[in-house]
């Protein structure tokens, strides 16, 4: 018994924890400011949040420059290039979401301050997720990023749709985490430890044990829910439609990225030895996800809902590399990371345009985009770029993401990989079919209600638009930019 009670305080690497601490500090700061000045602080909130996010980037940069890999709590919490790249990605997308939110929230008739608190908290969870190499820390990070997200989804307290969105997201989320936890318990039962390294060893040594299969499966399902993979996607469309649009963007990008990050770590660090389970599983899931997502998207008339389904399909694309995780691990991780980075910008961009247009038309219906090109050519062109990117048409960024997938698949080689490649090819075609359903009214149709007043793009939205647009085009023309990050994240992720 004394063995159990012996406790030594683990050594804390403050530098490694600096990003999380900064974020936490700002989160608390916002709350305190809010409590003290309540209404008078309204204006400063978004600014504060923004500064917080940017400030958090500073320690990340210093860590990146320092470059040494730091591991804490017996390898439960690791800070390496991989985690840094993704932390940065989380923070940047978070910042863009803040930019998108400013006017939306200010014009909404709800008390706005905790909005930012919640968002920062959720981001904190994500930032932690990218460093977690242990079942417990993964679980905690997951819940830390999910619970605020449930509340954000239900943000418009008076709006029944928003409530419903929150409820669905919450319930499905909890179901999923229950399943995941059950899986974790089984995995733990086999490995006798919660850290991934040990788990990897134990799974490797142990013969194919059905319990292991069950455990792995349930854990993966838990995150498959997070990345809204078919058949665990059902919450996504409803939640996306019901939640406030900035939140939708946040869920569609940041929270999905978080799920992917968790999957990368679980699959490539912990479960890689059981490729006989993960590869077929992801082959199936990814094929299902992209196909179903695309097919349903064909029938959507609401732009947000369409983007939701497109997001599901995109998630399917991101899952493709996992199907060759063991055959071409490096390429696979690279592909996923690159895809995540590009996807963050192009999808956020699309949502920004949706926000900007909605400010005028007050409608989410695709028809309301008729003749956009006539009275808002700038927005029309921007939207075109983002949709082209999502469809993967050069020179907009998306093509390189898709290219990454194909690259991973063909590097692995083999009939199954090639088959999946063809499925991807077909899906890109289907995908463009519904992106075109947005482009057509924009370009080819006259304005439905003769209202041709130009759209006022507020400063914040403008900034968000510029950032996303530039990034999307840059990634398309000089993919090396994003490719580099993909590369660095590979080495450490496999090494760690």
């Amino acid at each position: 018994m004394d063995v159990l009670l012996a406790f030594t305080r683990p050594s804390l690497d403050w530098h490694a924890l600096a990003p999380e601490l900064t974020l936490l500090a700002f989160g608390t700061l916002i709350t305190i400011v809010d409590i003290i000045w309540d209404d008078r602080s309204k204006q400063t909130m978004p600014t504060l949040a923004g500064i917080g996010l940017l400030a958090t980037l500073v320690p990340i940069l210093t860590l990146a420059v320092d470059g040494t890999e730091r591991s804490m709590f017996g390898g439960a919490y690791v800070v390496d290039d991989f985690s840094l790249v993704l932390k940065a990605l989380f923070l940047i997308s978070g910042y863009i979401v803040v930019l998108m939110s400013v006017d939306y929230i200010r014009e909404g008739d709800y008390y706005e301050n905790e909005y930012y608190t919640l968002m920062l908290t959720s981001l904190l969870g994500m930032v932690m997720m990218s460093s977690s190499r242990d079942l417990v820390s993964v679980f905690v990070a997951l819940e830390l990023l999910s619970i605020p997200a449930y509340m954000l989804a239900a943000w418009r307290k008076g709006g029944p749709r928003s409530n419903e969105a929150g409820l669905k997201y919450y319930l499905m989320g909890v179901f999923a985490s229950a399943v995941m936890l059950y899986g974790m318990s089984l995995v733990y039962g086999l490995a006798g430890s919660t850290t991934f390294d040990v788990i990897a060893q134990e799974l490797g040594s142990g013969s194919s044990n059905p319990v292991a299969v069950l455990g792995i499966l349930f854990v993966l399902i838990g995150f498959a829910f997070k990345v809204s993979a078919v058949p665990f996607h059902t919450w996504a469309p409803d939640t996306y439609e019901g939640a406030p649009t900035p939140v939708t963007a946040f869920l569609a990008v940041a929270s999905k990225t978080a799920g992917m990050v968790a999957l990368i770590q679980l699959v490539f660090v912990a479960f890689l030895v059981r490729d006989d389970v993960i590869q077929p599983f992801f082959w199936l899931i990814s094929a299902l996800t992209m196909t179903v997502g695309n097919l349903i998207a064909l029938r959507q008339t609401n732009i947000v809902r369409l983007l939701a389904y497109s997001g599901i399909a995109q998630g399917g694309f991101m899952l493709v590399p996992f199907a060759v995780a063991a055959d071409a691990p490096a390429r696979a991780i690279e592909a996923v990371v690159i895809y995540l980075a590009i996807y963050a910008f192009m999808n956020l961009g699309a949502f920004t345009v949706v926000l900007a247009v909605a400010r005028k038309t007050r409608s989410g219906e695709i028809d309301s985009y008729s003749g956009l090109f006539q009275y808002a050519p700038g927005l029309a062109v921007a939207m075109t770029v983002f949709l082209a990117a999502l469809a993967g048409i050069p020179p907009a960024g998306g093509w390189f993401a898709k290219f990454g997938l194909f690259r991973a698949l063909l590097d692995a080689g083999g009939g199954w990989a090639a088959a999946l490649g063809v499925i991807v090819a077909i899906n890109t075609v289907i995908a463009f079919a519904y992106y075109a359903r947005v482009l057509m009214p924009m370009w080819f149709q006259p304005v439905t209600d003769g209202d041709e007043r130009p759209i006022v793009v507020t400063g914040a939205l403008g900034a968000a638009l510029t950032v996303t647009l530039l990034a999307t085009m840059a990634f398309g023309v000089l993919p090396g930019l994003v490719g580099h990050f993909g590369e660095v994240s590979v080495l450490s992720a496999l090494g760690g």
């Binding site: 690279e334 048409i393 090639a418 077909i426 080819f444 993919p479």
Partner: protein, 520 residues
């Protein structure tokens, strides 16, 4: 051999000058239409001038090897580089594309089709031209792919925004078809990237088209080669378009605005055939040998099929569109023989078809503008109401039906002739059958073109147009058309202008094919 000094810039300039022009135009507010036009024309003309400089500086003695080569880092992570270069195969097509765009700009100088908006229209044309020029000079597969795809969106919008009644359907169809093809194409590119070995059996992991041409697919097992070729075939064959992937073409052509059709016919279709000659065959000669008979089959089917399709049409533009299917059939037949004779003919055919069919679409556009219909049954007496246009139509039709002494013949006849002796290791009887079928195709061609000409140009003008005046060829049309007309006649009289440029490259390509065939 890397180019140095100014020569190392020329190709990039021809490719990107139009893009720069487009960006500049974006800056110019809509109101300043004159400036917009001038900038557009200026940038495209500048590109053309540099193109002329290239044709002068080009070392025809060494037309076989790449010149003006630039090789700079681009996407290091995937080991893809910015490599552009130009050889006898690229030169004619690059020039064709460089010439076509300014002509289109001039043609639509004062009448941008409904719903107007000159600025956007010209921007799209310029982006389009960047994509086309780039495709012809790119020497890195990824670069090629990017340029190959860049042309899609502008053309999609040209058709969709400025097109005819059914434009949405047509544009989407065009886009989805091509997108599907290119998605499969990129898979094949990657397969080549990962599987190509050099002579020592080392994996190359390169997108450099020069290298891949040299290794000529050795070390990739035959069955895999055949599959990779299948992907390339889809990518390029849809673009050509080959039967049975042609159905997007008539719709796209019919609905597209005049200059859209012209560019589509003159340049875009050539991207596919160019791809076959530049990539598919030299990279995978072995697979090419086993594919060639089938390609030839589809080609001759296309010839007859397109001709019959023409005979069925009641719309002038749609008829011309179908004739493209037939003519590209001749081109593909020439390629399918895998003989330098045939491939040379094919390249000549590309240029000739570009000018001739482009010309026909120009005329169709002007007719539409004057009569507000292209219903052949409603037209007539063009020779009477607009004699010059009538004569030009006659000239173009004659060229199109392969009249000797005009450009069309030199693409058609040698292609048929080459089918008599296909390349090494290919079924002679089969190709001789193709030859005869293709020869029959020439008759049908004469049939539908003369039928078209009789219905539209001959006879008395229909009374429904008796009232209003039909203007003859106007100044802008003259400027836009003369280069094509001159070219058709010039290349018809002196085919060697193109043949001896392309010959060396093609000889190189077929040499590798023969080497492989000898190996089998």
């Amino acid at each position: 051999m890397e180019a140095t000094g100014f020569d190392s810039w020329v190709l990039s300039l021809t490719v990107f000058l139009p893009l720069v022009g487009a960006v500049v135009i974006m800056m110019i507010p809509k109101a300043y239409e004159a400036e917009v036009k001038l900038v557009a024309l200026g940038s495209s003309l500048l590109a053309l001038i540099i193109g002329l400089y290239i044709t002068i500086q080009f070392n025809y003695g060494a037309a076989g090897d790449l010149q003006f080569v630039v090789d700079k880092g681009w996407i290091d992570v995937i080991n893809s580089r910015y490599i552009v270069g130009l050889d006898g195969l690229s030169l004619p097509l690059l020039m064709l594309s460089l010439v076509t765009v300014p002509l289109c700009l001039i043609y639509s100088w004062n009448h941008v089709p409904e719903p107007g908006n000159t600025k956007a229209f010209f921007i799209l044309l310029l982006i389009l031209s960047t994509g086309m020029n780039g495709t012809f000079v790119a020497q890195d597969m990824i670069l090629f792919f990017v340029f190959f795809e860049i042309v899609l969106l502008p053309m999609y919008f040209l058709i969709g925004v400025w097109g005819g009644e059914d434009r949405r359907y047509a544009s989407l169809k065009f886009f989805l078809y091509t997108l599907f093809g290119s998605a499969l194409m990129i898979i094949s590119f990657l397969a080549l990237f990962f599987l190509s070995k050099d002579s020592a059996g080392e994996l190359l992991h390169t997108f450099d088209m020069r290298v891949l041409t040299d290794v000529a697919g050795v070390g990739i097992i035959k069955s895999t080669q055949v599959w990779i070729f299948a992907g390339l075939f889809m990518g390029f064959g849809i673009k050509v378009p080959m039967f049975p992937f042609h159905t997007w073409l008539p719709d796209a052509h019919t609905q597209a605005p005049t200059v859209g059709s012209v560019i589509l016919a003159a340049v875009l279709l050539k991207l596919g055939t160019y791809g076959f000659v530049r990539i598919a065959i030299p990279f995978l000669p072995d697979a090419a040998i086993s594919w060639a008979p089938w390609i030839g089959l589809l080609a001759v089917i296309g010839i007859i099929y397109g001709a019959l399709g023409c005979l069925a049409q009641s719309d002038m533009k749609r008829l011309i569109a179908f004739s493209s299917v037939a003519h590209m059939g001749f081109v593909m037949l020439g390629i399918a023989t895998l003989t330098d004779f045939g491939i040379n003919a094919a390249i000549f055919g590309m240029v000739a078809h570009g000018m001739i069919t482009g010309m026909l679409f120009f005329i169709a556009g002007s007719v539409k503008e004057r009569y507000h219909t292209l219903e052949i049954s409603r037209l007539g007496g063009l020779l009477k109401s607009a004699p010059r246009m009538g004569w030009i139509l006659g000239f173009a039709s004659m060229a199109s039906l392969g009249l000797p002494g005009l450009a069309g013949f030199w693409g058609e006849f040698p292609a048929i002739l080459s089918a008599y002796n296909p390349g090494a290791g290919m079924p002679e009887e089969t190709f001789r059958t193709y030859m005869v079928i293709a020869a029959i195709g020439t008759v049908l061609a004469a049939g539908y073109l003369l039928w078209l000409y009789q219905r539209t140009a001959f006879g008395e003008p229909p009374e429904e147009f008796a009232g209003h005046e039909i203007a003859d060829v106007n100044r802008f049309e003259w400027i836009a058309w003369t280069p094509f007309l001159v070219g058709i006649a010039l290349f018809g009289v002196w085919p060697n202008l193109i043949f001896n440029v392309t010959d060396d490259v093609v000889a190189g390509i077929t040499a590798s094919v023969e080497a492989i065939a000898a190996g089998n």
